[in-house]
C-alpha cells in the first residue's frame, strides 16, 4: 500500500442515479450495485437477465447506454467467469459496467451480437480466451488463436510456461 501523503482521498460517494435508473427500467431484475475506483456504476445481474438488460440499454432511449466501450471476461476461478460489458451514454456522459457470471461447470452466457454488431469480435475473443460459450453467436470461431486451438490461455488454470520450456530446453 502506498504512503498516505502520495494519495488522495478514495473516490467519494457518487450519486449519478444510474443504478436507480436501471431498477426503474427493469423492476423485475435484481441488480447488485457497486462503484469502481473512478466512481462509475457497476451493476451485477443474473445470467438469465443479462441479455435482456443489455438489449434494453441499446434500444431503450430512456436508458440510452447505446455505445459499447468494452466487453471482456475476468477469471474468478472457483466462481466461474465474469463477463463485463462497459457501456456509455453519449448524451449524459454516464458510464456503467454490467457484469454477469457464468459458472465454471456450465459456462455460457447469451450472446448480444445478434442485436449489437460491435460485440461480435469481443465475444469471439472472450470465448476463445476463457471458454465462455456465447449462446446464439452467429460466428463462434476462434479469432486471435489458431482455429484448432482448444485451450483457453487467459484462464488462471493456464499459467505462463517457463521461458526455457517455451523456447526449447536443449537450445543451449
Amino acid at each position: 500500500m502506498a504512503e498516505e501523503s502520495a494519495q488522495s482521498s478514495p473516490s467519494a460517494e457518487v450519486d449519478d442515479g444510474v443504478p436507480e435508473l436501471f431498477q426503474r427500467s427493469f423492476p423485475d431484475v435484481t441488480f447488485q450495485a457497486g462503484r469502481n475506483a473512478a466512481g462509475q456504476a457497476i451493476l451485477s445481474v443474473d445470467r438469465k437477465d443479462a441479455a435482456r438488460v443489455l438489449r434494453g440499454c441499446k434500444e431503450d432511449p430512456s436508458l440510452g447506454f447505446d455505445y459499447l466501450r468494452n466487453l471482456c471476461g475476468v477469471d474468478l476461478e472457483a466462481q466461474g467467469i465474469e463477463v463485463v460489458y462497459h457501456l456509455l451514454n453519449m448524451r449524459t456522459k454516464q458510464n456503467v459496467a454490467i457484469k454477469t457470471v457464468a459458472p465454471a461447470d456450465d459456462c455460457w452466457v447469451e450472446a448480444i451480437t445478434p442485436f449489437w454488431p460491435g460485440a461480435n469480435w469481443h465475444e469471439r475473443e472472450t470465448r476463445e480466451m476463457f471458454g465462455v460459450e456465447f449462446v446464439g453467436h452467429p460466428d463462434p470461431r476462434n479469432l486471435l488463436l489458431d482455429e484448432d486451438m482448444t485451450i483457453h490461455p487467459l484462464l488462471k488454470a493456464h499459467p505462463l510456461a517457463d521461458i526455457e520450456l517455451f523456447q526449447g530446453v536443449d537450445v543451449f
Binding site: 502520495a6 475506483a37 466501450r69 468494452n70 456522459k93 469480435w121 469481443h122 489458431d146 505462463l160
Partner: protein
C-alpha cells in the same frame, strides 16, 4: 450492377504478407468481377498474449508491454495504463508531469497521423511521395522523443505517479522549434493530398458508414468522428489536464475515406495548438513524481476502466486488482480491434481496388488489434 450473363464468385486472399495490409492481416475477399460481395477479416497473426503477460508482470513492467501493444502511438497506451493504476491507488500526479505527458501524447498523435498520411498516400496511388514527406516529419518527432526518453519507439517514459525522469535541457525551446517544423510538414501534406484530384476520386464516397451504424459498431476516434459524431474522450470526459486547453474536435460529414483523412489532418493542427498551450502553461519547475512513492507498487483491490483518446480512437485499460504487485486482469481495449469489425460493412459493394483504400483509412496497427 447486374451482369446479363452468368458469373461466379471468386475468393481472393489478400495477405497476411501483403504491403497494403499494414502488417500481418488477411482479408478473404469474395469478388464478383470487380465488386466485393463478401469479406472475412482474419486477425491474430501478431497475437503475443499481451493481456496474459500484463497479468504476470508488476505494474512498472506493464508499461513496457503497453509500448509494444501500440507501437505507433505508444504514449497514449502508456498513459491509459498508468492512469488506471493511479486511479486504483489514488495517486495524485504532479502538475508538471501531467503537462509533459500531454505534450508527449499530442506529439505522438501528430507522428502517428504523419505515418498514416504517408502510408495512405501509397494506398491510394500517390506512390512514394507522400510516404517520404510523412516519414520525414515523423522522424523529427521520433528524434525529439529519443532525446527525451532514450528510445526511438519503446519509450517506457511514463510511470505510475508521474514520469521516469526529468525532461532534457532546453525541452521547451526544442519542442517549440519542432512545432514550427511540424506545422510546415502539415502544410506540405495538405498541399500534396487534400486537393489532389486522384486522391479525392479514390476516397470521396468510398467506404461510407453512417453515424448510427458507427455507434452500433462501437467505432471510435477519427473513424467515428468522420461520420459526424462529435465524441472525443479528451473533450467529453476530460482527463489529465485536457480541460485547460482550447481546441476543436473536427468532424466529417459522410463518414467516407476522405472525411477520415480530413479529420486526421485537422486533428494534427489541433494537436499543435494543444502542445503550444501546454508549453505556455507548464510550470517551469517542480516535482515530476509524488513524494514517497513506494519502490514496489502494490495497489488495493478494486477495478477501473480508463479510456484515453489515442491516435486511432478510444484506447481503454480495464484493470482489476486483488491487491498485490501485479494486476489480476488487465484488459486492453484497442480502438482498431473494434474499428476493424466494421470493415466488412464498409467494403461490401465497393470495388476490389477500393478495399485497400478502405482498409488503410481505418489506420490500423495490427499489434494493437491482436495484442
Amino acid at each position: 450492377m447486374v451482369a446479363d450473363f452468368d458469373t461466379i464468385d471468386i475468393n481472393i486472399n489478400v495477405g497476411p504478407q501483403h504491403p497494403s495490409t499494414h502488417g500481418v492481416f488477411r482479408m478473404v475477399l469474395t469478388v464478383d468481377g470487380e465488386l466485393v460481395r463478401d469479406l472475412d477479416a482474419v486477425v491474430g497473426y501478431l497475437h503475443r498474449g499481451a493481456e496474459k503477460l500484463l497479468e504476470n508482470q508488476d505494474y512498472r513492467q506493464g508499461i513496457g508491454i503497453q509500448d509494444r501493444t501500440e507501437y505507433l502511438a505508444q504514449f497514449p497506451a502508456e498513459q491509459s495504463y498508468v492512469m488506471a493504476a493511479e486511479k486504483l491507488g489514488g495517486f495524485v500526479v504532479p502538475e508538471r508531469a501531467e503537462y509533459v505527458r500531454v505534450i508527449c501524447v499530442e506529439l505522438n498523435r501528430i507522428a502517428s497521423h504523419f505515418m498514416f498520411m504517408g502510408a495512405y498516400g501509397t494506398d491510394v496511388g500517390v506512390f512514394g511521395t507522400s510516404f517520404i514527406y510523412g516519414f520525414r516529419e515523423r522522424e523529427r518527432v521520433y528524434r525529439f522523443f529519443e532525446e527525451l526518453t532514450g528510445e526511438r519507439m519503446m519509450y517506457s517514459y511514463f510511470r505510475v505517479g508521474g514520469l521516469a525522469w526529468e525532461v532534457m535541457d532546453g525541452f521547451e525551446e526544442k519542442a517549440r522549434a519542432l512545432l514550427q517544423e511540424l506545422k510546415r510538414g502539415i502544410n506540405d501534406i495538405n498541399g500534396l493530398l487534400t486537393r489532389n484530384e486522384i486522391f479525392i476520386a479514390r476516397t470521396r464516397h468510398v467506404g461510407e458508414i453512417s453515424a448510427e451504424r458507427a455507434i452500433e459498431y462501437g467505432l471510435s476516434g477519427p473513424v467515428l468522428r468522420s461520420t459526424g459524431v462529435r465524441w472525443d474522450v479528451r473533450k467529453d470526459e476530460p482527463y489529465s489536464v485536457y480541460d485547460r486547453f482550447d481546441f476543436d474536435v473536427p468532424v466529417g460529414e459522410f463518414g467516407d475515406c476522405y472525411d477520415r483523412y480530413m479529420v486526421r489532418l485537422e486533428e494534427m493542427r489541433q494537436a499543435v495548438r494543444i502542445v503550444e498551450q501546454a508549453l505556455d502553461q507548464m510550470p517551469k519547475s517542480g516535482p515530476i513524481m509524488p513524494e514517497k512513492m513506494p519502490r514496489m507498487l502494490r495497489l488495493p483491490a478494486g477495478e477501473v476502466y480508463v479510456p484515453v483518446e489515442s491516435a486511432r480512437g478510444e484506447y481503454g485499460v480495464y484493470l482489476v486488482s486483488r491487491g498485490g504487485n501485479h494486476p489480476w486482469r488487465c484488459r486492453v481495449k484497442s480502438p482498431c480491434f473494434t474499428n476493424l469489425q466494421a470493415l466488412r460493412e464498409m467494403t461490401v459493394g465497393e470495388y476490389v481496388a477500393d478495399s485497400v483504400v478502405i482498409l488503410g483509412s481505418i489506420d490500423l496497427v495490427l499489434s494493437e488489434v491482436d495484442r
